[in-house]
């Protein structure tokens, strides 16, 4: 029972990290119609900006704003210089161009910072663990990451459901031409949305800095799962990204935790371990396949 509770928390924590990445990606894809493969690079740049700032100033609390500013500014610049030229093109050209951006950012980091992974420690205030029950210490930092994830989700919900900007974003993802025809500055809106997505990716990057390895290529590793999340959730919808992230994060964690154990009821140890691992590694894709069969446009598609 206690183990299940711990694994549910682990799943929630992974889900909320995924949500930070998926929220930006789904907005950009849904509203602007751009497949941005370089979204993972913004996550990496956030982590690098954070790790470099933490090393320079010796404080996580300065690393956090540094990462947000760096990712947000680079994202806005990326939209202005490159992505803006891609709106009129087909998806294949967008994939090519943003793949090029991945190579550019990876190359720039290798040249400017070096290939060695960077060190980034847990802030002293959040190191250690909280006793959630007898024999169940849970890392404080992970609880904090969950807290940030929930706050961002609430904040995004408020912005999108309750503000004028949110109204434009919702309208833009449903009926783009109509919004433009009504005289809204669509170009400005796009730069803003792209910058916001970049900011969230950068936030995810700096938050996982103390948990994962800060290194070149870290963005590509999370990108595929993030795409699975937004496809499951329905492209263009923040609510979809949230539900999709929960579903995928929980599925991934719980299958890694329990698939081998369940299989051991029928199979011998080594076979169950191997098969369980294989099963848990394809679980999120199975979930995606099932969702797409039942709801081809995802769970909560924008404008659906």
């Amino acid at each position: 029972m206690q183990l299940l509770f711990e694994q549910l928390l682990n799943g929630l924590q992974l889900s909320l990290t995924l949500f930070l990445l998926a929220a930006g990606l789904t907005l950009v894809f849904g509203i602007m119609g751009v497949i941005n493969l370089a979204h993972g690079s913004l996550y990496m740049l956030g982590a690098y900006a954070g790790a470099l700032a933490a090393a320079k100033f010796g404080s996580f609390w300065l690393a956090l704003p540094a990462a947000l500013i760096a990712a947000g500014l680079i994202g806005a610049a990326m939209e202005w210089l490159v992505v803006r030229r891609l709106y009129a093109l087909d998806h294949l050209s967008q994939v090519l161009a943003t793949f090029g951006l991945i190579l550019f950012f990876n190359g720039t980091i290798a040249w400017g910072v070096g290939r060695a992974p960077l060190q980034m420690d847990t802030p002293a205030l959040l190191s250690g663990f909280v006793q959630l029950g007898p024999g169940l210490p849970y890392p404080t930092y992970r609880l904090a990451v969950m807290g940030v994830g929930v706050l961002v989700a609430l904040g995004l919900w408020y912005v999108i459901a309750r503000t004028k900007l949110g109204m434009l974003i919702r309208a833009g993802s449903d009926k783009r031409e109509m919004v433009a025809a009504l005289g809204v500055n669509i170009a400005g809106l796009f730069t803003l949305v792209f910058g916001l997505g970049a900011l969230l990716a950068g936030l995810a990057g700096v938050l996982v800095g103390p948990i994962r390895s800060v290194q070149i290529g870290m963005g590509e590793q999370v990108l595929i799962t993030t795409f699975v999340v937004i496809v499951v959730g329905g492209i263009g919808s923040i609510r979809g990204a949230f539900v999709g992230a929960l579903l995928i994060g929980m599925c991934d964690t719980l299958s890694r935790a329990y698939a081998p154990m369940l299989l051991k009821m029928w199979l011998t140890g080594a076979l169950a371990d191997g098969l369980g691992a294989a099963l848990s590694s394809i679980m999120i894709y199975l979930v995606m396949a099932v969702v797409l069969v039942v709801r081809p446009r995802g769970l909560f598609p924008a404008g659906g």
Partner: protein, 389 residues
């Protein structure tokens, strides 16, 4: 006046060129390695160490001028094969090294050997080519893959751990790692946990380890995955209750630096470390730090030793890449390496010593690896008996 200077200069240049020609055409050394992807830092260290060895001799290895060709395989076996084919056909390269990952080795090395080329591995030593399929032009200067994990198994046994949980990514090298570990460990394995190759969050595994209550865990997660694993291990609080034993790829100089305090207390094995006292090792560390301004990894030492072995063979053959003469010279391994004692076994893989190392906080506050003692002496691999060389 001006014309005269120009004429003189060209004459001088011509003389220089002629001199170079009279000397010897340089031996071409093809270095196919991994420079991009998260594994890029490994290839970078191997490449830089080889280039350091060549630079220290003024562009030569074993007194023979060497011309290097360097390409990034991007950790893609197909890309690696294309580069090798181009080097074989267009550039007429005969001597190759540099490959980091076993999957690239398995895809490219047969192409090299079928064309009569020679390959000296500075890192990967897959079991595929260590037994029946061993080849007279294939040398491994680093280790047979299993050796890494065998030494960790021997260390776990020595440390007296009775019950262990083993973790590795779910792919061939991960399964080989567990097989290698178990070959020398001999204690009870409570659970084997296979992780995903792209996995970066290990919280579910931490909870499973906590529930299994082992004395210690053995985990094989090279590079970035290992960095994430060790950070999360420390954050989960398991570090203070359960021991951890790893092999060199999961605890080397870069991982120690990136994980910091989280690495302290982990028991690891290696065949070389920065604090080795032999003069070759000390000179290498000094030279590497002076040229590149970073601490060399165990991978860098392998690159350097590979270059030294090639140099010794070239010296004996006078730079000729005649298969048999090169082989006789190479197998003698008549050169002092950074790691000390080294011999080639009949399958042309190493016979060498393995050491226990641990991460400690240095006087400068940085975490570094310290050698504790020897774990295995003159260790060979389990496949040599099947090799008919």
């Amino acid at each position: 006046m001006r014309l005269k200077t120009l004429a003189l200069a060209s004459a001088a240049l011509f003389a220089l060129n002629a001199g170079a020609h009279a000397q010897q055409a340089p031996v071409k050394l093809g270095i196919l390695t991994t420079l991009s992807t998260p594994g890029g830092y490994i290839g970078e260290d191997v490449r830089d160490a080889i280039l350091l060895a060549i630079e220290e001799e003024g562009g030569k290895l074993g007194g023979i001028p060497v011309q290097t060709l360097i390409e990034d395989d991007k950790l893609k076996p197909g890309d690696g094969k294309q580069i090798i084919e181009k080097w074989l056909e267009t550039d007429k390269v005969k001597l190759f090294t540099g490959i980091i990952f076993s999957n690239v080795t398995i895809a490219t090395v047969p192409t090299i050997l079928e064309s009569g080329g020679i390959f000296v591995s500075p890192n990967a030593g897959p079991s595929n080519f260590a037994g029946k399929a061993c080849h007279k032009n294939y040398y491994v200067a680093s280790w047979q893959n299993d050796n890494l994990h065998e030494s960790a198994g021997a260390l776990a046994k020595k440390l007296g751990y009775k019950k262990m949980v083993l973790l590795a990514p779910n792919y061939p090298a991960g399964k080989d790692a567990l097989t290698g570990f178990k070959r020398m460990y001999g204690g009870e394995v409570v659970e084997e946990i296979f992780t995903g190759l792209d996995q970066s969050d290990f919280s579910a595994e931490m909870a499973r380890i906590r529930a299994a209550k082992p004395d210690a865990v053995f985990q094989f997660h090279p590079g970035g995955q290992g960095i994430g694993f060790i950070k999360q291990w420390a954050q989960s609080g398991l570090k203070d209750q359960i021991g951890m034993v790893v092999a060199a790829p999961s605890m080397e100089q870069r991982i120690a630096a990136a994980t910091g305090d989280a690495a302290i207390g982990i028991a690891a094995t290696a065949h070389w470390n920065t604090d080795f006292k032999n003069p070759e090792s000390q000179a290498f560390v000094k030279g590497f730090m002076a040229k590149y301004n970073r601490v060399p990894t165990v991978y860098a030492s392998q690159g350097y030793d590979t270059a030294k072995l090639i140099g010794a063979a070239l010296k004996a053959t006078g730079g000729k890449l005649d298969e048999d003469a090169f082989r006789t010279a190479m197998l003698k391994a008549d050169v002092k390496l950074t790691r000390g004692a080294f011999k080639f076994n009949n399958n042309q893989h190493p016979i060498q010593d393995w050491y226990e190392v641990k991460a400690v906080k240095g006087a400068d506050g940085k975490v570094a690896l310290e050698t504790v003692g020897k774990v295995l002496e003159n260790h060979k691999d389990a496949y040599a008996q099947d090799c008919k060389l």
